[in-house]
Symmetry: C2
Subunit: 527 residues, 2 copies
Amino acid sequence: MFETVELGREISKQEFKERSTKLRQDLLDAQREMRRLGIPTVVVFGGVDGAGKSETTGRLLEWMDARWVKTRAYDVPSDEESQRPDFWRYWRDLPAAGTMGVFLSAWYSRPFVDFVYNQDEGAFYEALTVISTFERMIADDGALVIKFWMHIPSDTLERTLKRLANDELQSWRVTKKDWDNLKRFDDFVNAAEHLIMRTSTGRSPWHLIEGADGNYRELKVGNLLLDAMRRAIEEKEKQLLAQEVWEEELERKNGDAKKKKKKKKDKDNSPAGSSSRLSDSELIVPGPHSTTILDKMDLSAKLGRDEYDERLEAAQARFGHLALKARQQNRSVVCAFEGVDAGGKGGAIRRLTSPLNPKFYQVIPIAAPTDEEFAHHYLWRFWRHLPRDGRVTVFDRTWYGRVLVERVEGFASKAEWRRAYNEINYFESELCRHGTVLIKYWMHISQDEQLARFNARAETPHKQWKLTDEDWRNREKWPLYKNAVHDMVERTSTAVAPWHLVSAEQKRFARVSVIETACRVLEDHLS
Amino acid sequence: MFETVELGREISKQEFKERSTKLRQDLLDAQREMRRLGIPTVVVFGGVDGAGKSETTGRLLEWMDARWVKTRAYDVPSDEESQRPDFWRYWRDLPAAGTMGVFLSAWYSRPFVDFVYNQDEGAFYEALTVISTFERMIADDGALVIKFWMHIPSDTLERTLKRLANDELQSWRVTKKDWDNLKRFDDFVNAAEHLIMRTSTGRSPWHLIEGADGNYRELKVGNLLLDAMRRAIEEKEKQLLAQEVWEEELERKNGDAKKKKKKKKDKDNSPAGSSSRLSDSELIVPGPHSTTILDKMDLSAKLGRDEYDERLEAAQARFGHLALKARQQNRSVVCAFEGVDAGGKGGAIRRLTSPLNPKFYQVIPIAAPTDEEFAHHYLWRFWRHLPRDGRVTVFDRTWYGRVLVERVEGFASKAEWRRAYNEINYFESELCRHGTVLIKYWMHISQDEQLARFNARAETPHKQWKLTDEDWRNREKWPLYKNAVHDMVERTSTAVAPWHLVSAEQKRFARVSVIETACRVLEDHLS
């Protein structure tokens, strides 16, 4: 595989100067366009140390507007990092819309080195699969992903190391590890071949770069990057144009001037990347499910006051104790609450968390995203709040917004919410693989009970803030939501992260039920 | 001090119900006003464990709109936390404009417990001084700061512990530490008295709360909080009104309709809290310094090409080596770059960082704040980027923007930029106290050289992006900037963090000079 990048290609200083002057101008133009269109760029450099990863990164920073480029290289994980799923630190560092992240080895480093030293093929391939899924998700979200594998022949590397070691000023750069790696050079090349073959996809391709000559290497990388940026820009512009034409068409058909205004407004509030929108007619179809899983729920369960007090106290004490045990076993817990408006999420969450030590839990209410959140993949803002080992995070509304409100309201395109099921399953399996206990609740009430609660809210001064016009609007879309919930449960109730449907018609029953469920799940997971 | 809160006051269930219904409505209203006006609230709970800190927090969350309230409690610091200045984690958690942070013990916990166990008065008082400065800064920035010290008598605490220990469901809650603390109860009370006396100020007062009866305690806290919020709202509204009147007055005087428009626009871009603005006439005065420190700089130093190559290579190798040494000694390094536009910051930074391992350094370009940053104290966004021990962070433009561009452009009020010198000195002394090596550069060139560089930028296609209309506008304000720099150096060139004025008239000389300076400073600080 690497014969083609051991040809000894070089570029003279004079030629480099001429060609790079033109190139940097083009790169700056492309960068400006990427910013304008809000396209994030993920550049990955792989390859052995000494093949020019850092030097080429430095050159890109010189050529481009460095304010919008962040370089990311990783050391052994900090405790905050190692106490969360592996990819937490990479999600944290993903570039915002219109900016560029240059990742040195990053998520490839550990699987690559592990394989060289342990030769565990199964683990290596599994890790590469996780990487491919991760990269596909960011590419699907509209990011440009481009990867460069920097290669030099072993004799060149050896010469470089010797030269540095003999230079009084530079000898500190060469460590024992460098010499060890040189001895294993063939193993590294072999691992690289597997890695490249399995993770080079159409949306996130690897480019092999001959790294021996700096001038050649940097021009090559610069030009490939430029091409990729230009293609991304063209694609995005085509997409925007198609969108515009489609919307005009739709308006013409409907002959409705008002619609245009409304649509425009909605769009401003919709998440990044939601480029194509559903027509109203698509939304009115109540979906293929004439009877949903929610219709089959028994909502009649009730608890008397005394039984409630007793079971609540017992469940809270048990839950507090189990949370302590989880902490001692370094397991983190994520409770995810979804449910019908006025389904009683808030009250249930307060009773669930009251036996917990405030040092070790956080409640994260999910409202409109901040602009930093808005400029990233929609899962970014959930990754950033994941708990460290031994802690509990409760999400009041969750990443399922994508397949519920965003689907129903058309804030996410059909393509976006459809692929979200898989993205969510991947996210949750990463959580569980790390050892996090994930508990997902759907709090359900009947339409009549919702009406009664809405009215009660409207009449109680200190509850009025809980009731908004949006709640009434959502209520009208009840069948659409039921349909979306049915699909959601069907596609995301996995063995590692099943849904718990809570009958919330009576608050007492729901509250006890939520805590007792949490206890059962924790008991299953803790040793 | 605590006699007044050992009176055994109680409130019946019935009374609590009546009064709390009214109170929660009022709290919700106040919370809504605080959100509208963008006032952040910092609530601190102190006191011995068992006096109801968590329970009262839970009650506040129930009474208010929990989406805008975050509870913060702290365990032993993570490595990411302990490898940065002590207050890094508190800055990270400060509430954004319009939201509330409830802090359990937080920054008081360690000094308090340390004093009880070590009785080191000097360290205790120093820690309390740092706390007071911190709280004053947030209050100055417009936050409402209110603190509750929860107290119960020792016999009540003892009864509570015994009751819990004998309850099968709750006994896991009582630990050996609780019994130890009970034995030292008098020491805790003594420490609390010192703590409260030294940190209760007009802007961030302590309230003593009798904690034995939950109903009494929670109503008391709720009512005090409500009063404080109402006062904050009234004050802010008065301030806004005064601002409006003042601006109208100014316009009437100037009789200039255009000015209004411009002012309004500027204000939208100005940082949070900059409520009062300077009149133009105040700005045109070139300040008291007819000759500034910059006028006295010798800008004639030059290096020949060969000498440059040689010294650059030597300095880079030396710096790379010193950075490695700093890493081995767990020292972090912060390089802060300020300077005249076109002073060559970017080029100098690239040459400074090129010998560094990208794993261990970050360059942070300071541009317009994101909305999350905008909603916090202006130092928040610098705290968040501080390096961990052993790492290097380079700021391309810095926190000095407050006393440079924000002062000159009037984005910060006179009161704001004037107190910023002290705030900055505090920030930097916290850095240095932690062991960070701080290196501050002002890159200076003459006005002629700037013009030459602007023209060169305008003519070189791949440099045009560096030149904006703003650069030309800033150039017109040269005397105002010189004056601001003079004040800045005078007030913030401290023994622990002196300014290095770099003669940047010739790029070669400046680049070598920057790296050699960094080496000298590091050599001074490393053992």
